[in-house]
């Protein structure tokens, strides 16, 4: 039915996840084409973060399959999935408490060459690693915070560090879990511009977000979840006027 084309970077096929008696996700199928920005939206508890945790290997799917870049990753451990080219950010950020911004950008990279390089001081042995970190640091405008403990930075800046850490690993697909939560309008705008630039350079992005305005302007395609079921999919304009979506998501929110 859904024959995977080489243009599809990530494909989920009838994925299901239960926690005890609760079905967190049922029969989820979706695809992310290369070089697109795809959004997943839905009310609280719809299963968005569960979906992310399945894709990144934090949870195992009870059934169904997840194929990334031509390889079935359904039962892979998280670090193998990241190495295959899939990096994520966290809804609650989760930076490393004792590390500077600079160290966050080094740690997720895989130093090229033999394992011995891992054991040698970074500054002697890994010009490629430091160059990549420098590049990511500049891209996010974090140069001034280079040697600052990342956890001491303002919230919006911490979100950037989280994203920079993911990007430093050199992913093909970037998964963002509510990237603008807690950000003000200007910060969200700036982030939107950065993401479009990354997308322009060929990065594929999958984003979970509550902020409707943000996803509507950013994404090429949207999936809508409610109670663990995919209730709609399509272009933002179509989603915006889909009565099912309005009822499940926008309608319920307006009623509160």
């Amino acid at each position: 039915m859904n024959a995977a084309s080489p243009e599809t970077l990530l494909r989920l096929e009838a994925v299901e996840k239960r926690f005890g008696g609760v079905r967190a996700l049922s029969d989820i199928s979706m695809g992310v084409e290369r070089n697109r920005i795809v959004g997943v939206i839905g009310p609280n508890g719809a299963g968005k973060t569960t979906l992310f945790n399945l894709i990144t290997g934090a949870y195992r799917a009870d059934s169904g399959s997840i194929v990334f870049d031509g390889r079935e990753i359904t039962d892979w451990p998280p670090h193998c999935i990241v190495r295959a080219g899939l990096a994520r950010t966290f809804q609650n950020i989760r930076l490393f408490a004792g590390m500077t911004v600079w160290e966050h950008l080094l740690v997720t990279q895989r130093p090229a060459g033999n394992a011995l390089r891992d054991l040698m001081p970074v500054r002697w042995s890994n010009p490629a690693v430091t160059a990549r970190a420098e590049e990511v640091l500049k891209f996010f405008g974090l140069e001034v915070y280079r040697d600052v403990l990342a956890r001491t930075l303002p919230y919006g800046t911490q979100r950037k560090v989280d994203m920079a850490r993911a990007l430093a690993s050199g992913p093909k697909l970037l998964l963002l879990d509510e990237p603008v939560a807690g950000m003000n309008h200007d910060e969200a705008e700036e982030l939107s511009r950065l993401l479009l630039r990354l997308n322009g350079e060929g990065l594929t992005i999958l984003v979970i977000e509550h902020d409707m305005a943000f996803v509507m302007n950013l994404c090429h395609e949207l999936y809508v979840l409610d109670f663990g079921i995919r209730i709609a999919a399509g272009e933002p304009a179509a989603i915006r006027s889909d009565p099912v979506v309005l009822d499940a998501y926008l309608g319920s929110e307006a009623a509160c």
Binding site: F90, M99, E103, L106, V107, Q109, D118, L119, V122, N126
Partner: protein
């Protein structure tokens, strides 16, 4: 140098290694209270090799370290399932298990102990100690160490950003066990007599204490802690019978004022003038 000071310096060198063995495991947020067990393995195995098989000391130390690291890795796997206080208790159990094994293991003397080793001088002890300390100081600047710190700070996040946390945590146990075994081998060949009682629970606690006191976030903390732990009770002889109580009080004061231990990264940066701004 008087034999009194030579003895103290030998103790400091061996304790530094013991503290480093705890330090590398603690760097991945795993507390081991059983490193005296690895030390015992290194002690007995190296003594067997030099006495029975007439190996040179260096070869015996290396063989003891490698064997202990394999055992450390074996211990590291079940340790993955335990965290915090539960891991501490389990490693304590491991240490006691090793000690009681040697207590009944008659080929190596059992409770009567084992002897016949050729005495090594202070210089040899400190060549090993300095070498391993230097190795750790270099390792602290490596990419692997960054990965260990990430696991220390948030293991789940570390895995989800691409780090092989299993390999890192088990590897830390392997390395820690190897260092403890070197400490044990040097201990055996310095004192030329060993018995299971040398490797009890208090020995493991001393290692942890040296790390906590000296600074648990930097490798040189092990050296500082070992030095203080050996010398303070000596200096406190002036208060005679009260010296252990005075020592305990000092320990509490240090922990209350500097939870991270005496040395930490900011302090080292200031001492080496690297952190001094314009």
């Amino acid at each position: 140098m008087s034999t009194y000071y030579a003895g103290l310096l030998a103790d400091i060198g061996i304790l530094t290694l013991g503290a480093l063995s705890v330090y590398v495991i603690l760097a991945t947020n795993q507390l081991s209270l059983g490193n005296a067990g690895f030390m015992a393995i290194g002690s007995y195995l190296s003594s067997f090799l030099t006495v029975e098989w007439h190996w040179p000391l260096t070869g015996a130390v290396v063989a003891a370290a490698l064997s202990a690291s394999i055992i450390g890795i074996v211990v590291g796997f079940p340790a993955l399932r335990l965290k915090g206080i539960y891991l501490a208790i389990a490693t304590l159990g491991f240490g006691e298990m090793v000690r009681s094994f040697f207590l009944v293991f008659s080929p190596m003397g059992g409770s009567g102990g084992y002897h016949g080793m050729a005495h090594v001088a202070l210089g040899t002890i400190w060549v090993w100690t300095a070498g391993i300390l230097l190795m750790i100081l270099l390792l602290e600047r490596s990419h692997l160490w960054l990965q260990m710190r990430a696991v220390h700070d948030d293991e789940t996040a570390a895995a989800l950003v691409g780090l092989n946390t299993t390999l890192i945590k088990v590897g830390a146990f392997g390395l820690g066990a190897a260092i403890a075994a070197v400490a044990g081998a040097l201990f055996a060949h310095h004192h030329v007599y060993i018995e299971p009682g040398n490797f009890g629970f208090e020995r493991s606690i001393d290692f942890v204490l040296a790390v906590i006191l000296g600074g648990s976030t930097v490798g040189v903390g092990a050296l500082a802690g070992a030095g203080l732990l050996v010398l303070l009770p000596e200096w406190l002889r002036v208060v005679a019978d009260w010296r252990l109580a005075a020592f305990g009080a000092l320990l509490i004061i240090v922990l209350l004022t500097r939870r991270q231990g005496i040395l930490d990264r900011p302090l080292l940066a200031r001492l080496s003038f690297r952190g001094a701004g314009p």
